[in-house]
């Protein structure tokens, strides 16, 4: 970490601590930084005001503020089956959802206000009223698929795949605005989903996008759907090929 980054982290932390003084910045043994402590918040949604306090930990990545921090709840209040990864990390939204929200305000305070607090609010709301205040996505691949159907505003999994494929393969080929939109609507791309696709591309997290594309693909396959060729990503095909080759080199050929 260089000096500018450290100063930035300090500045972001100061902004956060002004609102939430129970949170403290500390340096971790590996040289990265974390924010730990008591988050005491008040929030309203749709006229319903709730407040609570949670013991949380945020871990900053080495490229902070480019990537969002990771959040954990360490007071053992949130159970393993409430939207977590590996029982620990809080899944505030889908990975791309987090990136999209975080992109608007890449800072600790932005993260806490726009992502963490709404998540904690929905947990408190659920416990109080028995249902989620603004819904939730299903776990796993199904949830990723749902999130894109919502984002693109289409119901068809194959249409989603077609759009995601264009995104993921944009390294290989630029998809022309006058070509028909991959969603299958018949309209030109630039008059249909081009903007939505461009917004995702602007976030510059190709790896995350690729893994979510894979999730939707997997889910479609488990549903027994036939995948048309234009939905199959060349980037993914190449990566799988490289992976197969690596495995082939690693293990000796078996005798049958």
């Amino acid at each position: 970490m260089n000096k500018e980054q450290l100063e930035l982290i300090q500045g972001h932390y100061n902004d956060l601590a002004r609102r939430y003084p129970g949170l403290l910045l500390r340096e971790e043994p590996d040289g990265l930084w974390s924010v730990k402590g008591l988050l005491e918040f008040n929030a309203t949604f749709d006229g319903v005001e709730l407040g609570d306090r949670f013991k949380i930990e945020l871990y900053l990545s080495s490229d902070y503020p480019d990537s969002p921090p990771i959040a954990l709840e360490v007071g053992s209040r949130i159970p393993k089956d409430f939207h977590k990864i590996q029982g620990e990390m809080l899944c505030l939204e889908t990975p791309m959802g987090v990136r999209m929200k975080y992109a608007k305000n890449k800072s600790l305070l932005g993260f806490v206000t726009d992502l963490l607090i709404p998540y904690l609010y929905s947990f408190v709301y659920l416990n109080k009223f028995g249902h989620m205040p603004y819904g939730e996505f299903s776990h796993g691949d199904e949830g990723i698929c749902e999130s894109y159907r919502e984002y693109f505003g289409i119901n068809n999994r194959i249409s989603v795949l077609g759009l995601l494929r264009v995104l993921v393969d944009s390294k290989y080929r630029k998809y022309r605005g006058r070509s028909p939109c991959p969603c299958g609507s018949g309209k030109r791309f630039q008059n249909c989903h081009a903007n939505k696709v461009i917004q995702l591309k602007a976030l510059q997290c190709h790896d995350v996008l690729l893994s979510e594309y894979e999730a939707v693909l997997r889910y479609a396959l488990t549903k027994g759907q036939r995948i048309p060729k234009h939905c199959l990503s060349e980037v993914l095909r190449d990566e799988l090929q490289r992976g197969r080759e690596a495995v082939g080199r690693a293990s000796p050929p078996s005798r049958s």
Partner: protein
């Protein structure tokens, strides 16, 4: 600013000072350790000495300004300085010989031989590891009494006889220990000078303080009188401890060579101390006067006329900075401050500004929910947590006066995303 606000802050600072200090039981342990080493050294035979060496602690242990080590960092041991003054004189025994004689005596003891570290420039170091994980470094400094003629020089230059007559000089080796010299030091004189600065307040608070220590540590002390004077802390000592801890945290990770040294922090604080009865007033006075000295950076090195008679920090016509040892005026603690375009001087005054922001100006903000967070940042979360555990149990809002609980700002949730999770494999 309401009075009870300032009282509350003082109370917090005092509790933090307590938490920074060495615990009475650890202090007793340290005294036991260095008394044993002292006894071993006293019973040795040394060429040119007809009487036993004088053994006495110096530095923060002697002054009562020990600061608990930062546990997260590597140096998590307490540092104890012990002077071993051989009763010979500097003309008849070379410094290298004095150093070696003490080292040899230590090695004659099987236990100490195993604990000996590599030879230091001025000391021999014994490493103690303790069961509770917090150990000691015992630095033994071989020395001889100062020559009478030099002592008279000191007295002539204005040092009171009481502080000059026990002056000692410490052996000082070069980087590869091939050449040894004498470093004029007068640790005993300094300690006495420091004691005198805190004496009036000490007398006022001693019996109440000892009673309090006795009551919380009754298994350690047979009766109140057995509580050592060294455990009674005056606001001067607490202020120094807080400043040292602030320095430790603010300057951690930075260049070790330019951080403000404890000797300067201690000397300046003691010189400025005006018998203030509480830590906050003590700190405020010290920091404000120090900050005012930053005028010395301007051309001509101007200084406000009220500050000149203090003889705190001065600059001569060549721009060399001076902070004199009050019991050895020839020793200049700031002799290297001018180097590299006044690098150390600038580091010092930057630190002073930081202290002012973190510990003094913070009170003007009249927003006590921020104070706890700020103190944790500048003095360490661990120590604040330890000093005020009840605050962390229920949340930072407890700090605010009586009754009113401050609520955090309300966030209006707009366009929330939906939580998502991966099923546990």
């Amino acid at each position: 600013m309401p009075n009870n606000f300032k009282d509350q802050y003082n109370e917090n600072l005092t509790r933090i000072g307590d938490a920074l200090d060495i615990s009475p039981s650890k202090y007793q342990q340290a005294v036991e350790r260095y008394t044993s080493v002292g006894n071993w050294l006293k019973t040795g035979t040394y060429k040119g000495c007809s009487v036993q060496p004088r053994i006495y602690p110096q530095g923060s242990f002697r002054l009562g300004t020990v600061v608990r080590p930062l546990a997260e960092k590597k140096e998590s041991d307490y540092d104890i300085d012990l002077v071993c003054e051989l009763q010979t004189n500097k003309t008849s025994t070379a410094p290298g010989t004095v150093k070696m004689m003490v080292g040899t005596r230590l090695r004659e003891n099987d236990v100490y031989r195993k604990m000996l570290d590599d030879e230091g420039r001025r000391c021999w170091t014994l490493q103690y590891s303790e069961q509770d994980g917090v150990g000691f470094h015992l630095d033994i400094l071989p020395s001889v009494p100062e020559e009478k003629s030099v002592i008279w020089e000191l007295i002539d230059s204005g040092v009171p006889m009481d502080f000059a007559d026990k002056a000692a000089i410490i052996t000082d080796g070069n980087a590869d220990r091939t050449v040894y010299g004498w470093s004029p030091s007068n640790p005993e004189g300094y300690a006495r000078w420091f004691d005198q600065k805190k004496q009036p307040i000490f007398e006022r608070i001693a019996s109440a303080a000892k009673r309090k220590i006795f009551e919380s540590n009754s298994e350690l002390f047979g009766k109140i009188d057995a509580v050592p004077d060294a455990l009674v802390k005056t606001p001067l000592q607490m202020a120094i401890q807080i400043l040292k801890r602030h320095r430790d945290i603010a300057c951690s990770g930075r260049d070790w060579n330019i951080r403000p040294i404890s000797m300067i922090i201690t000397t300046i604080s003691a010189l400025l101390y005006n018998n203030e009865p509480d830590v906050y007033s003590t700190l405020k006075n010290i920091i404000e006067k120090l900050d005012a000295h930053s005028s010395l950076f301007s051309p001509g090195y101007p200084l406000h006329e009220s500050l000149t008679p203090l003889h705190l920090i001065q600059r001569d016509t060549e721009g060399i900075w001076h902070i004199s040892n009050p019991v050895n005026p020839k020793e200049n603690f700031a002799d290297k401050w001018h180097e590299n375009d006044n690098q150390k001087a600038r580091a010092f005054f930057q630190w002073v500004l930081q202290v002012r922001k973190d510990l003094i100006d913070i009170l003007d903000m009249a927003d006590s929910s921020r104070i706890l967070g700020a103190l944790s940042r500048s003095l360490g979360e661990g120590i604040v947590r330890k000093a005020m555990p009840e605050v962390f149990a229920t949340g930072p809002t407890i700090l605010v006066g009586s009754g009113t609980v401050k609520r955090p700002p309300t966030v209006e949730i707009k366009n929330p995303g939906k939580p998502w999770g991966k099923p546990i494999e």
